[in-house]
């Protein structure tokens, strides 16, 4: 049966090769694109926001400490009822000026609970110097390396924080630098200062409130169900449950824009490849007029003939898909394990990525659906192309076909 498509010309093989190329390229490009963005979003989401946050209703639009929500043990333990939720890290956040006395810079002060924070965002693993808090009462500050560099802070130095406290109170305090943190995201690196939750409450002069609570969930794909569940649990007139996409809508949009650009390139690629495959089908149909005539002569129905040709073309397409996948898999796997390191491209590249808050590292995403997507595309494209021989077969007159 396949003799038809491979026999007379090398067109069949060339079509398989071209489809393989398209699939190979599409998989590779999609994997790198998705991998890079996931890596970046993970950096921001996983290492800071958490996949779901609970905030007071007004805090999202007006992130001021005055909009902090009531927060206590009871609310926190009620969330433990959902098995998907692994931990809750309440936070008290506000901007402050950080100073050594000589140098000053703007920072984001985050008061958080040592254990859940570390479980959620692996804060402890971010330490590059010093030690993590001993407990809730620890009054030491953990400072991001970018902040420390900027104002010349060393481990053990005293950090002066000045801000506006709760409901207009004055906030000022001195804290020993207990540890230095390094984040993947340059944005975080430049502005984070961590205190324990009680220390921060004292600093901001708050009691029984938190600005947000990051929810740790077992599997990030369960985020929608957890979000829904939390919405039923909490008083939605006072609290808002915010999934990560809403917290960083600009990044999500930027990712979509990038993906749209990629899809355009892929669409053009597949379109050009389709032209080539169509050329093959065209010739195949013409060359096999005689054979089709004979087959109809010996009693094959038109639809059977059409079915046969469709099967051949689909087989051709899927063979190309399989080859493309086989070729791309090792490459994608390699780059998943050993991400591209753009710092090799020079300081300017690193600086550019930093400017956009990205780590200059591009890992590939090894996701089955990227592979599957190509198979689906090729299946539909080839099915569409198979309409042409079918139309020819419908109009085929056996006798004249055999005479030609």
């Amino acid at each position: 049966m396949l003799g038809g498509i491979f026999g007379a010309t090398n067109g069949g093989l060339s079509s398989v090769a071209s489809i393989a190329f398209a699939v190979f390229f599409a998989v590779f490009m999609q994997s790198i694109q998705r991998g890079a963005w996931d890596h970046m979003l993970d950096n921001v989401v996983n290492f800071y926001y958490g996949y779901v946050q609970v905030q007071s209703k007004d805090y999202f639009d007006n992130p001021s400490i005055d909009e902090a929500m009531t927060w206590n043990e009871q609310i926190e333990s009620s969330m433990g009822a959902n098995p998907e939720i692994q931990g809750v890290a309440p936070r008290l956040e506000s901007f402050a000026l950080a100073s050594t006395g000589d140098e000053t810079t703007g920072v984001l002060v985050v008061g958080t609970r040592p254990a859940p924070e570390s479980a959620l965002t692996h804060l402890e693993e971010r330490l590059v110097a010093g030690k993590y808090w001993d407990g809730e009462d620890d009054t030491g500050a953990l400072v991001a390396v970018g902040v420390a560099e900027k104002i010349g802070l060393q481990l053990g130095d005293t950090l002066i924080l000045i801000s506006q406290g709760y409901r207009g109170a004055n906030a000022a305090g001195k804290y020993a630098v207990k540890g230095l943190l390094k984040f993947g995201s340059p944005d975080l690196n430049k502005q984070m200062v961590y205190l324990t939750f009680p220390t921060a409450s004292w600093f901001f002069a708050t009691e029984g409130v938190a600005t947000s609570a990051a929810i740790q969930i077992k599997d990030k794909t369960d985020e929608p169900t957890v979000t829904q569940w939390l919405q039923t649990q909490l008083d939605t007139t006072a609290y808002a449950v915010i999934p990560w996409q809403e917290m960083i809508p600009d990044l999500v949009e930027a990712k979509m824009l990038d993906a749209a650009g990629n899809n355009l390139v892929l669409a053009v690629l597949y379109l050009i490849i389709s032209f080539g495959v169509f050329g093959t089908i065209l010739m195949m149909t013409r060359e096999r007029q005689y054979e089709f005539g004979v087959l109809m002569g010996i009693g094959m129905q038109r639809w059977q003939l059409g079915w046969m040709v469709w099967m051949e073309i689909i087989f051709l397409g899927l063979l190309g898909v399989a080859m493309g996948m086989l070729l791309s898999f090792p490459l994608v796997y390699y780059f998943q394990q050993n991400p591209f390191d753009l710092s090799a491209m020079g300081q300017e590249a690193v600086a550019t990525y930093e400017k956009f808050g990205m780590e200059p590292i591009l890992p590939a995403a090894l996701d089955a659906d990227i592979f599957l997507q190509q198979a689906v595309i090729v299946f539909w494209v080839t099915t569409l192309l198979a309409v042409y021989p079918y139309l020819k077969i419908r109009k085929l007159a056996p006798v004249s076909a055999m005479r030609s």
């Binding site: 007006n62 207009g168 979509m256 390139v265 050329g279 300017e348």
Partner: protein, 404 residues
Amino acid sequence: MISTLAWRNIWRSPTRSWVIIGAIMLGIWALVFMLSFTVGMVQSYVDNSIENGIGHLQVHNADYRQEAKVQYYFSTDVLPLAQWKTDERLQGVAVRTLVQAMAGSSRATRGVVIKGVDPLGESQATPLSRQIVEGEYLDANKKNCLIISKTLAGKLKVKLRSKIVLTFQDLEGHITAGAFRIVGIFDTGNKAIDEGNVFVNRLDINALLGNSAMAHEVSFLLKDITTLPAMKAALTAQLPELAVEDYKEVAPDLQLYEGQIQTSANIFMVIIMLALLFGIINTMLMAVLERYRELGMLMAVGMNKARVFGMILIETLLLAMIALIPGLLLGWGTVAWLSTTGIDLSAFSGGLSQFGMSTVVYPKLQAALYLQFAMAVCLTAILGAIYPAWKAIRLKPVEAMRKI
């Protein structure tokens, strides 16, 4: 006559030829479109960055470029402001004092950069005065007034006429504060600028810092970018003590982006040419195999291998040419049309403003790139012809003519 022969051979299978011509046309068009889009995006980013403050040239105290400390200022007495005013090449000159500060309202606090500007100069060098959406622009005669972006105003929960307290270190290193009243609210559409800056009169901030004749930055906007090298040389001569840099040195990522255009062009080109290569090989191979007996006869009557090879090559090149010219024209037309209407990407506005790009992209493309694409297509045609032509010259006339 070989060309005539080649030309007529193309039209022996018009459908097949049109399919490959269509593919090549599509490829060229897509290449032109995608790349012009990229160029448009990059241009919009670069133009945005230049317009929204970087300018074409900047002058700083050399130390300030190393580390943005408030103490690394220069005296405005050294600036030949009167001479600049009459310089025909200059569109605008903006002298700025830059200070890292905390901006506090009665409700919230944020870290910002205070830009102390001369209202007239700033309005000539940047579009700031035209980006006021509420209230009015800074007035040099009004003391302690401030303009703030819509975004930041929302975050600080302030309105027109609200009071904002700016807290920062003065030249002596003392923490100092000043109260400013909001006279205007602007919206540049660039998230980084909107979220990170407030503008005040330079003299007001200088007074708080403790030196009335200081500035950290002068930014120059040129009327015509081609005068940049000459202007840079002139400024370097005028201001021997200061560091004069063009926009590429100030923001190395801009240079990287401009360089990125060629890289993108190459990547797109290779992808599309590879896809076309498959189609061309396929088509020409079919054309050769179909004419096996005829080619045998031609070699029998004395057509030598070089001529047979040449004929196949010319056929392929002609096919490419037929596609190339309308493809380029179509691409050029599309770019010409879109460069006036623009492509509206407001669906991704958040993502775009995140990266400092405008929501309407005006595609454009350098003439050199059209030429490059034309050469790439010819090269692809030649590469695509090699295997089929080789196949043709390897045939043995006797065997070829015996073949059915």
